[in-house]
């Protein structure tokens, strides 16, 4: 499966290499555009000492981990959100007659590394914040783990959004609310949001495990909402459950696929 993914991704990369200027501009564009996010955070901290009880570098840490997870998920699997386009164009039919899962073909379709700009930007923010926060080495193991869990969670949401489009071919925006919305939400400390919302993203759509709960552990902070301490360690479980749900939804979606005329 990994081999097939790499092969298809490489093929698309070669195809897009015919347009090197476009590649360079888009990479630079995504780096700059997302850089504006950080400028936004800087401006907020010009006026205040803390955001939801968290300092500048803590917020940058949350931003960096969320951004890295999201940008990786987006680059590797984000294309599955274009399902309804493929359904309407009929190109989804041609994916189904090949001896490879449709998910991998969707994910690699028009694969491009333009999103490397965003990945680099998020990694840079994380790289700046971590030394300033200087968490104890004994807690650092959580950082790569949380990025991977975040990647799995965002990928699962992309897949769920794709699966939803088998039912509602006109509504990819519904999925965007959870993918791009989830990415924006987790860029800030959840303590700036209401308790009900935080319960929702902890127990229903597990966005709190992208970075918030694991970050409380890394930063050794009290949970502002008084949720149990063990929640800080269940990100892998939450990510796995969501991934299983997404895989089942995707399969069910393909079973219900109706194709188009002709």
């Amino acid at each position: 499966m990994v081999r097939t993914y790499l092969l298809l991704a490489w093929t698309w990369l070669r195809a897009s290499a015919q347009y090197p200027v476009s590649f360079a501009l888009m990479t630079l564009g995504s780096f700059t555009l997302t850089g504006l996010d950080v400028a936004g955070i800087w401006i907020i901290f010009e006026h205040t000492e803390s955001l939801g009880g968290f300092g500048l570098f803590e917020v940058m840490f949350l931003y960096g981990t969320s951004g890295l997870s999201f940008a990786l998920a987006d680059m590797l699997f984000g294309n599955v959100e274009r399902l309804s386009q493929h359904v309407r164009a009929g190109s989804f039919d041609t994916m189904l007659i090949r001896p490879t899962g449709a998910f991998i073909q969707m994910a690699t379709d028009r694969f491009g590394v333009q999103r490397l700009g965003r990945i680099a930007q998020a990694a840079l923010v994380l790289g700046i914040s971590l030394p300033r926060l200087d968490p104890p080495w004994s807690r650092m193991w959580m950082v790569p783990l949380m990025v991977v869990c975040g990647l799995v969670i965002f990928t699962s949401i992309f897949a769920l959004g794709g699966a939803l489009q088998f039912l509602l071919t006109d509504a990819p925006e519904v999925a965007n609310a959870f993918t791009y919305g989830g990415s924006t939400l987790t860029q800030y400390p959840l303590s700036i949001y209401g308790g009900e919302l935080v319960k929702g993203v902890t127990f229903i759509v597990p966005l709190a495990f992208v970075n918030w709960q694991p970050a409380l552990y890394v930063l050794d902070r009290q949970d502002p909402f008084g949720l149990p301490y063990w929640l800080r360690f269940v990100a892998p479980v939450a990510a796995l459950l969501l991934a299983v749900a997404a895989a089942l939804a995707w399969r069910a979606g393909i079973r219900r696929y109706r194709s188009t005329g002709s």
Binding site: L7, T11, A15, S16, L96, Y257
Partner: protein, 249 residues
């Protein structure tokens, strides 16, 4: 090789009060044996494409049982893909921006075709379908006739036992059409590949198919040889008139 047993497929269309169920295919049964060359005819909207999509695993039937090359297409879609070749005349399965040869290389990997087998097969197909002049041209720059030859090659590189063609001659000029027919006949005769072909071009049927099935309103209206088909409407001159008669009957 293909077994279709009391298969139905319905769609719910419209919303609210306008909601209704359309039966694209109903109670359809037929079998196609190994090595047969079968034409599948029907007016627009009769259920041809729906049938093809159920045979290839794209659509799940609402009722009944389908077996292609011994496999249930819905449950074993990717396994089935290795045993069948599919060509859609209306759309390409090739990679738009890649040279034809690169698309073929990719297919070799996806279908896990042995390198020696692949080259032998590609040489043979390139020769028969005269691909030499445009193997290194990106697909988007190919003419329709060239692209169709590329698509047929792509569907055959893994030496499938069954070839399913959905309007393979649509839009082709006379020269390409004649070449395509000669190729398909030879493929069926020499390799024993089972072929099922939908078309609106009765020339395809007359030149290629020993057996014709005709579907109308989701049901099989005729199944027999081309001569049997002619005999259903004696006195009519061309096969076109016979088929038109059957469609409107």
């Amino acid at each position: 090789m293909i077994e279709v047993d009391r298969v139905g497929r319905s769609f719910t269309v419209g919303r609210g009060r306008a909601r209704r169920t359309v039966h694209a295919v109903r109670d359809l049964s037929f079998t196609v044996g190994a090595g047969e060359f079968v034409g599948y005819l029907g007016p627009n909207g009769a259920g041809k494409s729906t049938t093809i999509k159920m045979l290839t695993g794209i659509l799940a039937p609402t009722s009944g049982r389908v077996r292609v090359a011994g496999l249930d297409p819905t449950r074993r879609r990717t396994a089935l893909a290795r045993r069948i070749g599919v060509v859609f005349g209306q759309r390409t399965t090739l990679w738009w921006d890649l040279p034809l040869k690169d698309s073929f290389e990719l297919i070799r990997h996806l279908y896990k075709v042995d390198r020696a087998d692949f080259h032998r097969r590609l040489d043979e197909l390139a020769d028969l379908l005269d691909l030499g002049g445009f193997l290194h041209t990106p697909v988007r720059q190919l003419s329709l006739g060239q692209r169709m030859r590329g698509d047929v090659t792509a569907a055959l590189l893994h030496e499938p036992a069954v070839l399913i063609l959905d309007e393979p001659t649509i839009g082709l000029d006379v020269v390409s059409k004649v070449a395509m027919r000669a190729f398909l006949r030879r493929l069926n005769a020499e390799h024993g590949t089972t072929v099922l072909l939908t078309t609106h071009d009765l020339g395809d049927i007359e030149k290629l198919c020993r057996r014709v099935m005709l579907i109308d309103h989701g049901r099989l209206g005729f199944d027999g040889t081309v001569d049997d088909l002619r005999a259903t409407a004696p006195g009519r001159e061309s096969l076109e008139e016979v088929v038109a008669h059957l469609y409107t009957a």
